[in-house]
């Protein structure tokens, strides 16, 4: 048993990789869930205004937005929530397992909130006009606080994925030390700010349809102010957030992220500021299409690159800087009696220790060398790299199309073996497995250049 690693089978997704599967579902969820939490606060604030200033006409807007939320957030958001678990399960089972086993009670507490939140949204929407206004207002405030509590609870887990930020958790194994990590409060502030901004943008889609002109103006201005407050708070929190990141994350941010990400995010930030300022100034000019476009821009050009970057800068880890994306445990955690997998990998390699290696690959022969190399490479690398010519960080591109086995092996036995590249995991494969991986990686480039030759020849004809 000591000679077997806790590695699961691998689910390989060509081109986009499992990381993107996770990223896509995660981004959809973030959009839907943050809109929902932000909207719950919007409802509480507007309803307070409605009750204290005796403006029952404002409740029509809450009803409209509430029904929209039921469809948008409580179909898409509540399905993609567990969907993220499914995605991490199949992409990085060790990662999700680590998180579940560290934070099961936190997640269970979040589930309590999630349950009352779902009951609450139905109560909030369908009891408008069917229950006295003061009781309904209390219901809405409880709903807002419960919704935000789901965010409070999940952010600690997400920020632990980045890193604990100090050595306490490694020594104590305490959930509190893991949860209230260095990154936590800045991350919470950032997400709280974003929830106001996105709820303001999505809220415009409904505000633009209000028939009563005064209500429309009042709501739109309210949304604009909330959105602007969210954007400004977000900028401050972002600056703090960056200060709480580990060094590997900062290096990746500076050197490895695609060049378009920073300018795109700044452009979206600028566009959002202009949008909210404009709608505050000229609320009647807010049209539904305009609000939909703004929401789409924030989601596609803002949220997607941001979420993708957050996933990327965590590399090579998937959780707590102790589990690599490729499922291996990268360090000892005395507080949890966890031992690193790396010494065993260095001593015996993957083929001898992975429980899901078919018998035919346990013994490498001339006939199965390539398959053995493919198996090890996919297990160790496919979570972050595409084996094709295109897609997510393609191996062929990363190795500059090299077909030189010795050259690739030199990289495997040097920088990779010793963990010298900050954003790459340490993969201390024994010599014979380095050879197999190098041969397989070289074959990818050979195949690719062969295909290119054929394509050129066909063109020439």
């Amino acid at each position: 048993m000591l000679d077997t690693l806790g590695l699961y089978p691998t689910w390989y997704v060509p081109t986009i990789g499992t990381a993107w599967v996770m990223g896509i579902i995660g981004t959809i969820h973030v959009l839907a869930s943050h809109t929902s939490v932000g909207a719950s606060w919007l409802f509480a604030l507007i309803e307070t205004k409605s009750v204290t200033e005796n403006k029952p006409e404002l409740m029509e807007y809450i009803k409209k937005y509430g029904v929209f939320l039921l469809v948008f957030s409580y179909i898409i958001g509540s399905i993609t929530g567990p969907g993220i678990w499914y995605a991490i399960t199949v992409a990085s089972p060790r990662g999700v397992g680590g998180l579940i086993h560290n934070f099961v009670w936190v997640w269970a507490a979040e589930w309590v909130y999630f349950t009352v939140e779902v009951i609450g949204v139905y109560a909030l929407v369908y009891l408008i006009g069917k229950i006295d206004p003061r009781t309904h207002l209390k219901l809405t405030w409880v709903f807002a606080l419960a919704s935000w509590a789901t965010m409070l609870l999940i952010v600690g887990i997400l920020s632990f994925m980045m890193w604990p930020g100090n050595k306490s958790w490694y020594d104590t194994g305490s959930t509190l030390d893991a949860f209230f990590n260095l990154n936590f409060f800045a991350h919470l502030g950032l997400r709280t700010a974003f929830m106001f901004a996105i709820a303001g943008a999505v809220g415009g889609i409904l505000a633009a349809t209000m028939k009563d002109k005064n209500v429309r103006i009042e709501i739109t201005r309210f949304l604009s102010k909330m959105g602007l407050a969210g954007v400004f708070l977000g900028m401050i929190m972002w600056m703090w957030y960056v200060q709480t990141l580990p060094s590997n994350a900062k290096i990746i941010m500076q050197t490895q992220l695609p060049g378009y990400i920073a300018p795109t995010l700044f452009a979206v930030l600028g566009a959002t500021l202009v949008y909210f300022s404009w709608t505050a100034w000229k609320p009647m000019q807010l049209k539904q299409g305009f609000a939909i476009a703004m929401t789409a821009i924030i989601a596609i050009a803002g949220l997607w690159p941001e979420e993708r970057s957050r996933e990327s800068i965590r590399k090579p880890y998937v959780a707590g800087q102790y589990i690599y994306s490729n499922q291996t445990i990268a360090r000892d955690v005395p507080g949890k009696q966890i031992k690193s997998n790396l010494p065993l990998i260095a001593e015996k390699g993957i083929l001898a220790t992975h429980p899901f290696v078919p018998e035919s690959l346990r013994h490498v022969t001339a006939a199965n060398r390539l398959q053995a190399g493919e198996f090890i490479t996919k297990v160790m690398c496919a979570n972050c790299h595409s084996m094709g010519a295109t897609g997510l960080r393609p191996m062929i591109q990363k190795l500059h199309g090299s077909t030189d086995v010795a050259q690739i092996k030199a990289y495997l036995s040097g920088a990779l073996y010793n963990g010298l590249v900050p954003y790459m995991p340490r993969i201390p494969l024994p010599d014979k497995e380095q050879e197999l991986v190098a041969e397989y990686l070289a074959s990818l480039s050979q195949k690719s250049s062969h295909l290119q030759t054929i394509a050129l020849a066909t063109k020439g004809e």
Binding site: M1, T4, G6, Y8, P9, T10, Y12, I25, I75, I76, S78, I79, P82, G83, W85, Y86, T89, V90, G97, G98, I100, H101, F103, V104, W105, A108, A109, V112, Y113, T115, V118, I119, Y122, L127, K130, I131, T135, L139, W141, V142, A146, A149, S168, G173, T175, L176, D177, F179, F180, F184, I329, K336, Q337, I338, P355, F356, P358, E359, L361, Q371
Partner: protein, 411 residues
Amino acid sequence: MELDSHSIATTLQVLRDPAGIPSHPIVFQVLMIATWVFHILFVNIALGTAGLSLYAFAKRQTPHWERLSIGMTKAAKVSVSMLIVLGVAPLLFTQVIYDPQWYSSNILSGAWAIGFIFTLILGYSSWFTFYFKNHQGASGTVVWWGIIGLAFFLLDGFIMHALSYQALLPDQWMSWYAPNGKVDMSGTHIHAWQAGRFLFFIAMSVTVLGAFLKAYVNYYRVREDYEADYLTFVNRLGTKIILVGVVAQIVTFTWWLADLPASFHAFSSPLALAIFAILILLCGVSLRQQKVPHVTSYQALAVTVVMAAVIATFRELLRMQYMLPYGYDIETYKVMEDIPSTALFFLTFIGVGGLVGGFFLTAIYKAGRTQGVYEASPTVNKLANSAIGIMIVWVGIFFMVGIFTWVSNTL
């Protein structure tokens, strides 16, 4: 290619998470069973009400059927929300004590696990469309939204069934992962299912639907806008549906038991016999109630809750039997006790679940039974204030503990 029991036992042990679990495994097992009961009941109500709304839609020329179709469409819509949220807890606790089984099964059918998410979104969106369009005098074509929605729900039910069943068969995982020694990492196959087991839960949806209808009648009987004629019609229908469901459950349960390994001695299991007994009891009660269609109560629904609890326990017992040859015993899971987070859950569950959940449910229940505007009674008002109070206290404690921990560890 299959693995021997010893290798499988080793594999299952090493796949357990090295972080261990923060409380005794039995705590998670009990919570897993208890929360699954409510999940499966809402699955049953969702499938049952969705099926009935489509059937009633086809007979919508009769006003009672039309009204029932609209009501059931709405019930299915809410039930799907509830089944999703209530499914999160058993999914969580399964991952805690049966992580090797659940993760392996999911990865081996990775495309289906991810497909489940997207098809559920499509199905639920389709059902919402049906809900928005299914009103008095709706055109016949809108039913397609409902049919598509229900078809996706059934597909998703089947995917979940298969993933759960595959998790019980670790001796076959290797032959699925590397058929004939060739590794297949595509995750595009569903590898195993058990028709009797799957159909049993579909049949259970029929029984639970009948019980739900009878509860629906009992709930609305105090409302003047729900005429006695209509309620008697629904009550009578509920009784008939229970009878059909019970027969279907007896047949499919027998099929399920017959499919189990002989070593389980399933037919003589006390829990299996209890399930048969409950079904027969439900049958007897329903036959008696057929004679008094105007008498309403929540009794049948209460019996289905008991039935679901026994089935949940039986299901867990089966899993333990499936794991026996590999020596997989949850009680040997490494425990790394963590008192603060354990307290966080139980206090949240009791305080927030009790007061906030209690306030929301009471408000819905009371308002739903009131024609016009419901004025909160002093008790409900007190409950509302307590809900706000508990939320403020909870958030306050959260930040106090958080700031203290953060400052202690950072400075």
